[in-house]
Symmetry: C2
Subunit: 643 residues, 2 copies
């Protein structure tokens, strides 16, 4: 019995939603909307334009480096927060830890420099791990990278908002809202496409580099003239002693300075030819700039004895110390926000590419492989934007809370990818492969050690989430792939007999709700394709059936009308019962075709005034159990309202 | 060009929503869910059981009176809040104002007593106004009543929660949540049906009546023994003087005591036979009880010199004064909550009936006329529940803020309905019609004066909302009716030539995405109904078309394959362009039929992994502009995944 499929508003709601979407789609076809949309994301580009959108090294540095360069904004902050609990004694380790992280940076950069040359197609860590370590490690890397991209966007945005809120304290209470607003702007910009982005993006990147390097140089001059400050005089009282465990935790927290270093190796195909050489140079430049910014800022912070206020980041305090609270300070803070905002953009160029590769391998929905109007992977961009928004809201815009997840994800991908590279060289055995393998081995080993340190010391602070997330994601990947494999097998023409048995002429059933003009088209169509037609009336109130039969006979006396009583006022139940019964009785190797006269209103709100019976019946029939695995065909004959 | 109809996730979302609904529908067909649902709302009842569900007078009093009886809970409160600003001098007018409202109550009750006898079918104010004053006043009454029902539910629930929060202050901060929870319970109870409700409802109604009347009697005894208290000693200092305007405002606020008095006249058909006599008796009893409770409680409040605390209602303070803060007090407060909760039920029996009548007249969506599983108008119940929830949240559960809207809506309906009765008697001119007309004229005049007083004195406090709402609603009613009239005209068989021109055999177009097994059913079906078949491939990437053509020729060499390039990667645009072009070229008085092979997954999540192309194409075709007003038929040939 299907009595529950009665005409509740709420059960029909999604059907109305469908009707509304159609109207939205109509609206999107509308000229004015199209103009506004194209103003926002640019005119559509034909497929053959793909491939022309290559980046110069300057543009590429702007497009791929913001995450890497801007990571000092949170890495320095993490190091400070970790050491300050041990007071001035703790803070005096800042530069030492900074130096060891810079060393790690050099090793990892060298590792990725090799990846660029081995994988010019730019699959990045996922491709490297999958090809060299196998399917499962590849998927684990993919899951870790997914997490990394999401967190790059979330951490960059929240850290950027922290920077601007340090300068304008009135924003401190609205950090989530500000971060979300910037996210919306970035998403729209990305839907426009990468090349135009890098022009826009170049300005803040080079502004940031210029002003920051100048500031650091000026700070160095002042340091040399004024001499080092005394941390002991400004640092709060220590709550704990300096232990090895504290230093380890600090190192782990500071490792976030390395995030984003892999971006260039993922994006080799977007470089101008020769791609590998250009990408390699850009990576080298980026690594040097990263190192300079990181060790420079952390060193000055220590030797100028900088300690931030309550609602202020350590970088803001450094800038204030060097530049005072004047115009130059505000320029620096605004630049910090800008570069962190475009850092989120690293994810917006990286994630859609990763998602497309995973989708092509059948591990993510296929829609992710389709190019949008502007030759960008719009679905990936939108998916990332949604995920980032969720992270920002969930963690209340607190970058410090997001960092542990971030670092674990990134270093997991680093380690797997570098291990893959070692195997790659061993398998290829090209000229001087031992040297290359050794470099990547060093990369793999150091990032693995860092991963362990991060994982252990930050386990309770959020690293455990990765341990839940990665297997979940990998499971999802595999389930999706299994489904696509199954579909491919079922859709294969292989094994199908070459001569296909022709079908008999269809038997037709037309469910009717009364005798009205919308039926004329349906009956005429039925007559044009079959001799075997029955109309069916589902009778809710006893007696109504006979009235309908009389009227029916006036117009179509040659077509029999069946009447099914429905004491529980269900439409679907009696219809399906009738069809099943008839099919079993006739047993002619086919199921009856159902013709549904479909009523098409002209305005969206009119859909709310009708029962959407055709849609309801169609879905009920499609999802009904099938006799002998035969398929039941549905014919929809529309009847358009004139107004 | 339809390039915007590309495969964004978000544009497809409602299509996924459809797929999910289907799964929900499947789930609802599932035996276990059906059992749980039936446990909640009871087993379905067949249509012929309708009409047997009649109420005895005791049951009817319980079903229809809670709103009327319980209105003392907010009316007294409003009178107190209005007078207390003038201190003890103001409060000393309480009983006087109470007495004048009781007089108004008597007049209105007498008016409705006559309505019962004139309109035994129980249309209530809407039917009376429509039949006697005309269409537009009828609709205005309908809109005012809609508002009244919504506010009865919202005000009763919030006032009930106020009562219980007076006794248990811990709830004071959670009043919105508590009110919503009770609303959910009431909604479920109502979906079960009215008769079973009135058994459940009878208990709190008679408990309330019994305990309250006893309390008032005991209070009277104590008043006589102890003598009157001194208001001057307890009332706060006056902030204003007693003016005529203050007294008017107080009267206006207190008029909410009359709400619910019309409920019985709307529900005459649910009484046992003889309906009119039974309903009349019940109305008389109810009016007497209302008067007793109202004047008794307000008099005692004044003469016992009761003033409430900060987070307490005036009725709670009265009960505490008479009974102390012991067990009896808590019983009274819980009873107050219970009767106010079931008062909301007055709306749940009244509104669905009104909505059904309006829907039968074509002023509201037709779905509102369909009986649910339990022979109640489920859609009306759900609509009311949703509206009430919105009101409670919007007004933050504050009954005082809702009262002005409430009073205006109710008295507008009173006035229109009583005016209609005057015209009714004048037209009928039955025995002693002058006397009857005079009584209703008195009702109309007094309620009109009250309406003016309320409207003017409470205009800025919310009465203005009614002035916006009523015209909006009336406009909506008329627009809906115009649509149904138009549809009826377009669907009419009248004027159709008796011999209907037969249609030519259909031309068939099958859009394909490749050569796969799902096409076998589609092609076979096409062959069974037509000789004129073309397959159509939309080519996104140059060169793919030729590959598909080769494969196609292996399987169906006799069916031509057309290839349409789509440089902007749109599916819909090229398909529609092809169809339009072909139809114009052939010009044979029909549009080509489109056969869509539809892919049916077995699990809901699988829908997310496919593009839902069939659904997308179907909607695009249905809503595409049509050549020569011909209709394009769509045939869906399903292909069920095995797993």
């Amino acid at each position: 019995m299907h009595m529950l499929l009665s005409s509740f508003f709420f059960a029909e709601f999604p059907l109305y939603a469908c009707a509304v979407t159609i109207q939205i789609r109509k609206f999107r076809e509308n000229a004015m909307f199209t103009k506004i949309w194209h103003l926002l994301i640019g005119s559509p580009l034909p497929t053959q334009d793909a491939g022309h959108k290559r980046l110069s090294n300057w543009q590429a540095l702007a497009a791929f480096s913001p995450d890497a360069l801007s990571s000092i904004a949170y890495a320095n902050q993490e190091i400070f927060l970790s050491l300050v609990v041990a007071g001035s004694a703790g803070l005096s380790y800042s530069t030492g830890i900074g130096a060891s992280i810079t060393l790690l940076l050099a090793i990892v950069a060298l590792s990725y420099y090799q990846t660029i040359h081995a994988y010019p197609s730019g699959g990045g860590s996922y491709v490297v791990a999958r090809e060299n370590l196998g399917k499962l490690p590849g998927l684990v890397t993919g899951a870790a990278l997914t997490m990394g991209y999401l967190l790059t966007a979330a951490v960059s945005l929240t850290a950027g908002v922290d920077a601007i809120a340090s300068a304008f304290p009135v924003l401190w209470g609205h950090r989530v809202a500000v971060a979300l607003a910037i996210l919306v702007i970035i998403t729209i910009a990305n839907l426009r496409g990468l090349q135009e982005m890098s022009v826009t993006v170049g300005v803040p990147v080079y502004l940031f580099l210029g002003t920051y390097l100048l500031m650091l140089a000026y700070g160095l001059v002042r340091l040399m003239m004024e001499g080092a400050g005394s941390l002991a005089a400004v640092a709060p009282l220590p709550q704990t002693e300096v232990t090895l465990s504290l230093l380890m935790r600090t190192f782990a927290a500071g490792c976030t300075a390395l995030t984003g270093i892999e971006a260039i190796s993922n994006g080799v195909p977007t470089f101008r030819k020769p791609e590998m050489k250009n990408a390699g140079h850009t990576l080298a430049w980026m690594a040097v700039l990263m190192g300079l910014l990181f060790i420079g800022s952390i060193g000055l912070t220590q030797f100028l004895a900088v300690v931030p206020g309550e609602q202020e980041t350590i970088l803001s305090a450094l800038a204030r110390r060097i530049l005072g609270s004047g115009f130059a300070y505000y320029v620096i803070q605004i630049n910090t926000l800008l570069i962190l905002s475009v850092a989120a953009n690293t994810s917006f160029s990286g994630f859609p590419q990763l998602a497309t590769i995973l989708a092509r391998d059948g591990y993510l929905p296929r829609q992710l492989t389709s190019l949008g109007d502007r030759l960008v992977y719009s679905n990936g961009i939108l998916l990332l934007a949604a995920g980032t928004a969720v992270m920002i809201v969930l963690f209340q815009g607190d970058s410090h809370a997001l960092i542990p997840l971030f670092a674990v994800g990134v270093f997991m991908a680093f380690t797997l990818s570098q291990t893959g590279m070692v195997l790659h060289w061993r398998r290829e055995k090209g000229k001087g492969w031992q040297g290359k393998a050794l470099i990547n081995l060093a990369g793999a080993a150091t990032t693995f050690v860092a991963l362990i340190i991060i994982g252990v010391s930050k386990f309770l602070e959020g690293a455990w989430i990765v341990l839940v997330w990665v297997p979940l994601l990998v499971g999802m990947f595999q389930r999706i792939r299994a489904h696509y494999d199954e579909v491919a097998a079922e859709l294969s023409m292989r094994g199908l007999p070459p001569s296909l048995r022709p079908m008999p002429a269809p038997r037709i059933v037309i469910p009717i709700s009364g005798v009205h003009r919308a039926l004329v088209g349906a009956v005429n169509y039925a007559r044009s394709i079959s001799q075997d037609i029955t109309a069916l009336y589902i009778e809710f109130e006893p007696g109504r059936g006979e009235e309908v039969r009389k009227k029916w006979a006036q117009w179509w006396p040659d077509i029999p009308l069946a009447i099914m009583p429905s004491p529980y006022r269900s439409l679907v139940g009696p219809l399906l019962d009738y069809l099943d019964k008839e099919d079993e009785a006739r047993n002619d190797g086919q199921l009856a075709t159902v013709i549904l006269p479909e009523f098409i209103p002209t305005q969206w709100w009119q859909s709310l005034l009708h029962n959407q019976t055709a849609l309801l019946l169609k879905f009920a029939i499609l999802y009904h159990r099938r006799l002998h695995n035969l398929e039941r065909v549905i014919i929809e004959v529309p009847f358009h309202l004139r107004r």
